[in-house]
């Protein structure tokens, strides 16, 4: 971590959570909030049972159903018996171990990374973990938040701690202002293309600079969400007035004198001016434009206004062969303008872009227009759904011919029936364009909600300005 006399934000939060430090051992770090979902927890609860252990702090643990959730007929039993068993297993485990659960049909249900912030459970300076790599989302509040595997889920359930080595720190400084129509999603896709899918390995990234400070909390969550796609386990942003304003009045946010004390502490959560980062990356936001991926990893992206690159464009042999493979899988030819790529399905949703602001952005473009692709609009939580309906966004989507769904992870990873058919091509606001991610043989282009909506209207990858 930082070697100056000053300390980085990540270092401050880390030090605040060290339970035990011993020479030659990882730090034992306290975990303030443990989020649980149905996919990565069953074997962890089984492990507790086998060892005769209990959940140490059920009051710092919360569960929801999201990955397997069907987004139509959410109240009907899940048709897929394997998915149904997984969801029922979570319900049984939550009841047995005393963990609060937001099941399907509950007004509080939703994607695990949408409901934490929504409830005010994610706060500055906390440590947050979940058996899901997109836990980095919560770093938007100035928390150290990261994904863990099932063995670690079991460890946190049993001890409320994790043994961890301190990662190095990286500052990603984004100066200037994002041009009109360029979003947090475009920014993070550009960052990943710049540093690569392994660029953040071993680091906690702090996003800083004018363009970051200008983002809403929802935009900050989009940026931090995809830290993992740059290889960083965690990414965070120093809390400020935008953060406090978002948190004020949320169900689990501090109240009264506690609020004042908390805000006073939260204001100290910024990297000191003389803090030294192990690595610094700089970007100029004003040079960015809508960004899309053309390949099969999130680092294979380019401005929408450009063309599909050729493998020969890459000097590194591994990158060149990866590009070659990706173009074959994606059925794309080098030199094709990205605007000419025809799309079959548009997906707006996920923990990356399934919040109210994202739905508003899509609705603004779809208002008074018709979609020509299959278009799924999937709110990130039931509360986002209700808020969108209160504003009439559902009516806009339906009038445009899009499908308005219930809350869940949906087509981001296709564990529910929302999948691409083999060979089908999507423009998706989700976070991963891996081979088969959205359905076996499916092809994914990652985009912002704005580009997704404009693409639904034309059937080709399209920026809103092109409409």
């Amino acid at each position: 971590m930082g070697r100056g006399t000053g300390r980085t934000l990540a270092e401050k939060v880390w030090e605040q959570h060290v339970v035990r430090r011993a020479e030659g051992e990882p730090d034992l770090l306290y975990i303030d909030l443990h989020l649980v979902h149905e996919v990565t927890s069953p074997q962890a609860f089984d492990g507790l049972r086998m060892a005769g252990r209990t959940v140490r702090r059920p009051d710092l643990t919360i569960a929801t159903e999201d990955h397997n959730v069907p987004t139509v007929n959410i109240l009907a039993p899940i048709a897929d018996p394997v998915s149904r068993t997984q969801v029922e297993t979570l319900r049984k485990n939550a009841a047995e171990f005393g963990v609060r659960l937001h099941p399907m049909g509950d007004a509080g249900q939703g994607i695990v990374h949408v409901i934490g912030p929504q409830l005010g459970l994610t706060q500055p300076g906390m440590t947050v973990v979940c058996g899901d790599s997109h836990t980095s989302t919560h770093g938007a509040f100035g928390a150290i938040a990261f994904g863990i595997g099932t063995s670690e889920v079991e460890h946190v359930l049993a001890t409320q701690t994790l043994p961890l080595y301190r990662p190095k720190t990286m500052a990603i400084e984004v100066d200037g202002a994002l041009p009109y129509g360029v979003t947090a999603k475009d920014l993070i896709l550009a960052i990943i293309a710049k540093i690569g899918t392994g660029g953040g390995q071993g680091y906690i990234v702090e996003y800083r600079g004018e363009a970051i400070r200008a983002l809403s909390m929802e935009g900050r969550m989009t940026v931090c969400n995809m830290s993992i796609e740059a290889g960083a386990r965690a990414g965070l942003i120093a809390p400020d007035e935008t953060t406090f304003e978002y948190l004020a009045g949320r169900p689990h946010a501090p109240k009264g004198a506690d609020w004042d004390a908390a805000v006073e502490y939260w204001r100290s959560l910024r990297s000191d001016d003389d803090a030294v980062f192990d690595e610094v990356v700089r970007l100029d936001a004003s040079t960015l434009s809508p960004f899309v991926t053309w390949g099969t990893n999130p680092g294979q992206g380019a401005p929408l206004a450009s063309s599909v690159p050729a493998p020969e464009d890459f000097a590194d042999p591994a990158q060149r062969s990866a590009a070659e493979r990706a173009l074959t899988y994606m059925d794309l030819r080098a030199g094709t303008p990205l605007r000419d790529v025809a799309i079959d399905t548009v997906f707006v949703g996920s923990c990356t872009n399934g919040r109210l602001e994202d739905l508003r952005a899509a609705a603004e473009i779809l208002s008074g227009r018709k979609v020509v692709t299959r278009t799924l609009i999937v709110p990130g939580s039931m509360q986002v759904k209700a808020a969108a309906e209160a504003e009439g966004l559902d009516q806009v989507f339906k009038a445009a011919g899009a499908e308005w769904r219930e809350a869940g992870c949906s087509m981001c990873l296709g564990m529910n029936p929302d999948q691409l058919a083999p060979g089908e091509r999507s423009a998706s606001t989700s976070n991963r364009n891996f081979e088969g991610r959205q359905g076996k043989g499916g092809r994914t282009h990652l985009v912002s909600p704005q580009v997704a909506a404009a693409t639904a209207v034309t059937g080709r990858l399209t920026a809103p300005a092109d409409l």
């Binding site: 030659g24 990955h67 595997g149 099932t150 049993a158 004390a261 891996f434 088969g436 991610r437």
Partner: protein, 195 residues
């Protein structure tokens, strides 16, 4: 966790970089609630291609996967580690690993070995030329031996000790239950609870 000391086995060359966990075990396999049976899902989409390296009979029974850079990127699914182990792998060698995958591996006793890209390529070449050639991965001395090649690798002392002993982290941490309690008593009162 299964202890790991010294392992000798044959190698499979997987000449791909950025092998993500969705390829190692596609999401459809994650619906199981048990810890077993994941070997069938290992690289299940790629295995449909008859030319995929794991379909080559010469590599049946190999236990060391030699892969390209950034192995295990993406999802935190530990199922990726279970699938590799249950298929029969004890070691993955690559120039770089994604953090969560590497962490999950060391919790389960699958040894991730980081070697320079040129060494990894040489091991891949050798495994292609002679699929019967054996590699020894020695965690005690932190070296990999293959033919006349002996190359050392880095792993921190603590993780090495845990792997050599086959120790489970939770049991180790619970020895410090008093420290956890002391810490908990000093937490800020405004921190949220989920109840």
């Amino acid at each position: 966790m299964e202890a790991f000391t010294i392992h000798t086995g044959r190698a499979v060359p997987l000449r791909r970089s950025n092998v993500d966990t969705d390829q190692i075990i596609p999401a459809v396999w994650l619906k199981q609630v048990s810890r077993t049976g994941f070997e069938k899902g290992l690289f299940s989409a790629w295995r449909e291609d008859p030319d995929f390296v794991l379909n080559n009979p010469a590599y049946q029974g190999a236990s060391i996967l030699v892969a390209g850079s950034d192995f295990g990127t993406g999802s935190s699914r530990e199922h990726a580690v279970w699938a590799l182990q249950q298929y029969g792998f004890r070691v993955v060698i690559a120039p770089k690993f994604a953090d969560i995958f590497r962490n999950n591996s060391t919790k389960m006793g699958l040894l991730p070995v980081i070697l320079p890209a040129e060494v990894v390529e040489r091991l891949q070449d050798e495994a292609e030329q002679d699929p019967t050639a054996e590699i020894t991965v020695d965690l005690v001395d932190r070296v990999v031996r293959a033919g006349d090649l002996t190359v050392s690798f880095d792993i921190d002392d603590y993780t090495r000790w845990r792997l050599l002993e086959g120790l489970d982290d939770t049991g180790l941490t619970l020895r410090h239950a008093d420290d956890i309690e002391v810490y908990e008593n000093g937490r800020q009162p405004w921190l949220p609870t989920t109840v």
